[in-house]
Structure formats: C-alpha cells, structure tokens
Symmetry: C2
C-alpha cells in the first residue's frame, strides 16, 4: 500500500487524497530513499522524453541539422501548443527537409486552453504540430533522416529509428525493454512498463553521465544545457516543468508525464528522482515532486520560492475565492 | 483503507487505479451493502443538486413561475454550457423577472470543449449563464423571489433562501449541517461535509418519499419526472448523468459531483446509492457507478447496454487506436 503523498483540502476537511510511490536513487540505481512500492512496473509515458531524445544528439543528427537549444528542448518536452512551440517544431522538420505532414503523433487541440480558444477564435483547426509531442516526433524524424531512413512508420517499435530510441532508453534505465512490457502511448509510439526505480536511475545517469558511453554522456550534457537555456520549450507558459527549469536552470531537470508520473535529475548530487501517483493525477505528481525537491535539494536551492509555492497550491472558485488547497504530505520517513 | 474500484489498463499492465467507498442504503438510512469507509465526512458537491432543488418545487415557486420539466431538470443539473442549457437558465430567470446579472455563481467557459471552441470561434466570451451551475442558481433565485426576498447574496449561508435549501438538505439526508462541516463550493454556495451514507440516504428518500413530509414527497416526484422527461438538462450531450437518465427514465436518477462523487436513487427498490473516489477522479466515479447499478438493479435493467458500455470504457489515442481501458473492479463481497 503506497502512502498518501498529496491532500486536497476544502474548508476544514480533506476532500480527496492521492497515494503514490516515490524513489530517489544514485546513478548505480541504488535506492537512497523510497516511499511505497518502487519495483512495480509503471509506464513512464512522457516523463522519459529527455531520455528518448538522447539518440537525436548522440547520433550527431542535432548538430548535422543545426538544431538550436530551443529545438533540442522541444524534443524533450510536452508543449502546450503555443505559437512558439508550433513554429519550433516546424523549424526542426524544415531543417530535415520535412514538414508537419510527416508527423505520426495524431492531432489534438493545444494543451493550453487559452491557446485552444485563440486558435478556434481565428477559425482554425489544430494540426499535428499542435500535438504536445510534436517536438519529440520531429526529433525522431531528424534522427531517421540523419540515418538515411524513410521516416514513414517511425512510431512503430520495429522502425530502425524507434529501435535506436528504445535501445538508448533501455541502456540508460538499465532495463530490458521487450514486447512483454510494451504498450502504445498517446502519440502512438511504444511506451514500456518498468520499475519506478529504473525511471529514476535513467535520470540519475542523464544528470551525471555515469554508466553511459562518452557519446551518450556528451549528449546528456547538451540536453541538460538546452533545457536550461530554453525552459519554455519543455512545457509552456506557467506550467510546472517550465517553472522548475526556469527556477533551477541546470541544477534540476524535471519532466512530468501522463497518468501522474514525474521524474527529475539533480546532477549536483548525482541523484535521480521519480514519482508515480497511483490514480494518475497530474496535480498530485507536481505537488509531490515539489515536496521531494524541497526534501532532497541542498539548503539554498530547497528554499527557492518556486518550491514553497508549488507544495501548497490554493484552489480558487469561479468567483476567485480561495476554497481549498492541494498540499504535499510526503511522510517524514522513507524506507 | 478503501478498496480499488476502478482500474486503468494500458497494454498488459494496470497503469493507474482508483480507490473509494461505496454504499447502498434504504430510506431509513440502513446500510444494505458497503465497500470501504462510508462514515468519513465527504463533500457531496454537485451530486446533491437534486436534493437542493426540493425547496424550489416544494415552495410552489416552480408552479408559480410556470417552470417546465426542462427548467426543473436544469435546476438539478451540472450542464455543459450548450446553447439549450443557456437558453433554459435564461428562461427561468426571465420568469422570475430577473436575468443573468443576478447569478452569483461566477463565470467559466462551458464544460463542453466543443461548445467552448464554438463560443470562442464566434468571438464571444462566456457569461454566468454558461456556468455549469447556472440552472441551480436560477432555481435559488426563483425561490428567493417567490418568498419575496431580495436575491442579492443568495449564495451566502445566512440568506433566507439558502437557509431554506440547507434545511431541506439536512432534512432529507438526516444530518445536522452547521459551520463545523461547511466549506465553499466551486459556485460559491455552501457545501457541507457529511458521511457518504447520508448522501445515499438522501437519494433513497428522494426516490421513495419515505421520512419526508407530503410536500417534499410531492416535490421529489415532480423532480424525478422532470429529469426523466428532460435528461439533456442534467448534464449534456453524451455525458454520464444524461446517458443514465436517457437509458433508465424514472427507474434511476443518477447525479455526479466534482471530486469523484456520484449518487443515485432507485425508486423501484427503495434504495439510495453513493460513491466517493478517494482521489477525486470523475472518470472513476462514473465507471464505478455503472458497475454498482449493474450489481444492484434487477435483471432486465442491469443488462442495459448503457451499463455494459460504461463499466469498461476504451481509451483511444490521438490516432484513434485503442490503447487501454478504464474498467470497473468493484469487489464481489461488500461488508
């Protein structure tokens, strides 16, 4: 039974609460702290995008096509479909002599409700470029083109570009990724169930380069620098991953995924962090990650306003009254 | 520890799961079946709108202003902001010589994403009439006007109209509702924490009239008939409460509320049902309620397609591929 990590309060009562598992590991995959079952296989979903972007950089595709920091960061991001995100995905594709018609991620309205209304207000429909995964997919297409491959079918497990992505993911997380743990993600690429501990291990290695080839280590350095230089590309205006990257720069690389997953690298301490909320709630994954960072980071960083704001979020009603809180309650003692 | 009621599967693994409490009671409030802790105080939120609408009918306000079935059903509903919902709320207010400027529920974009985009596409902004609670609030204003009261401040606990609503809610649920259990709902009216068992008791009495005055019993009959006659007003196109009311007519009155609450009356069996998902997930409350109805209703009703569809909902990704399921796993044995 996983512990309660986050409470949602209203008036004098706890209205809802979220259980989950939390793990902190070093780059050897050794558990430093854990709450709950961190060995149960979970789907890391978009939380591992920064790991899935490693081949884009390690293959030299990023340099060959002259990708900017913003473009590399977008390849690691789940963006809100804001105009700059769309333009950046389009630019990546153009550099590989492709366009949005090559993207196999499907179409959805922008994650940002405001951007959705703006788009609808102009009488427009969304395209594949607005899909929150379009940067990741544009990165896969750059990788495929760099390898001289036809990008068609790049989302399928057996496409050589996707095999290269999966191999890197297995390598950095220290897992065996095969059909038995494979499912299909929202954007149609494979997602592999793995222990939460392995997700954290991947982030510890992304942050340190330990146990990685020198090529992957260099790619990890470049990815961390790109995200720190272009935090907006990781998520979007006001969103959690962007706020953390803006506040901490290269000191913390945090990436959330669907169904209540969050992962982070703390290079300065050689640590990887991962959280899975049992019920899949994103609101809880963010608040729990903020609480975990406050617990793990050294004093001056732990005291950052961004974290104190993010561990206790006020709920406002439609008249702007404060009616409750979403607040962290990570138990004191791990096991 | 509440049991797991709903699983979210992807590929061969359970990705997320939802715990919660479930109770079935008779109109005496006696527990017929229960799963989990049904005595912990929970906020019923919008699930009790049909109970909060009782004074509107019992006071004769509904007859005095000539409210239609659709208008009474809207007073019990959490609507999607579709044009017919907005027009119906406006009509209720007009009958009481008021308009949308009297509504104190606040403004939000329509719950229906499609309707939001249509509104934005016309260059329009939402009004108080689009608030999912505008029908309930229009009902409160009708009640206040019928009583000769100034409606200003009707959302406050001490306004005489709101006191009448709270008194009816306490009466039908068999609870004492005071400041110690009071919080503020999304639409600014009070919401009172009460045991899940009490929510179910209120619905058993709404469905049977047992333990109610003859005036409240008549009001309950009228409310059940109105919802059965105008199920669209309870929620909106394709939404759960509307689907259940469309499928079952007066045989089942089901109403969901924010943070994973669902309640239902089964008049033919004299039962009231209530569910609270621990983590507040609406997706789980709906699937669990469908499973509970299938368990509780007599054969021919239990076999209704609407329930078999609703207990195992396919998840599609952005390319329309089936990637998983949200499925009920209500344990066999209650306690």
């Amino acid at each position: 039974m996983n512990p309660i990590l986050v409470e949602v309060a209203r008036g004098g009562h706890v209205e809802s609460f979220h259980r989950g598992a939390v793990v902190v590991v070093d780059a050897d995959g050794c558990v430093i702290q854990a709450w709950g079952d961190v060995e149960r296989p979970i789907y890391p979903r978009s939380a591992v995008k920064p790991l899935q972007a490693l081949p884009l950089v390690a293959s030299d595709a990023a340099d060959r096509f002259g990708l900017t920091d913003a473009e590399i960061a977008l390849a690691c991001g789940s963006h809100a479909g804001e105009p700059l995100h769309v333009a950046t995905a389009e630019s990546m594709l153009r550099k590989a002599s492709q366009d949005g018609s090559c993207l196999e991620c499907g179409v959805h309205w922008p994650l940002s409700e405001a951007v959705t209304r703006e788009l609808a207000g102009r009488g427009q429909l969304p395209s594949t470029l607005h899909n929150n995964c379009s940067g990741k997919h544009a990165g896969f297409i750059c990788l495929a083109r760099h390898r001289g491959l036809d990008p068609v079918g790049y989302v399928k497990p057996d496409h050589p570009a996707m095999r290269e992505v999966t191999k890197a993911l297995a390598n950095v997380t220290g897992t065996v990724l095969n059909e038995s743990c494979r499912a299909i993600d929202g954007c149609s690429i494979p997602t592999f169930a793995m222990p939460l501990r392995s997700v954290a291990t991947g982030f510890a290695r992304l942050g340190t380069g330990c146990h990685l080839t020198s090529t992957l280590t260099s790619a990890a350095v470049r990815i961390r620098a790109a995200i720190a230089a272009a935090p907006f590309m990781l998520a979007g205006l006001g969103r959690f991953d962007t706020r953390i990257a803006t506040a901490f720069g290269e000191a913390v690389l945090c990436k959330c995924g669907a169904e209540g997953v969050a992962a982070a690298a703390i290079p300065g301490q050689g640590l990887g962090l991962a959280i899975k909320i049992d019920d899949g709630a994103g609101r809880a994954a963010e608040v729990a990650m903020a609480a975990l960072l406050r617990r793990i980071l050294p004093g001056p960083l732990a005291d950052h306003d961004e974290l104190s704001r993010s561990v206790d979020v006020s709920l406002h009603n439609w008249n702007g009254m404060v009616v409750g809180q979403v607040r962290a309650c990570l138990p004191e003692s791990a096991h």
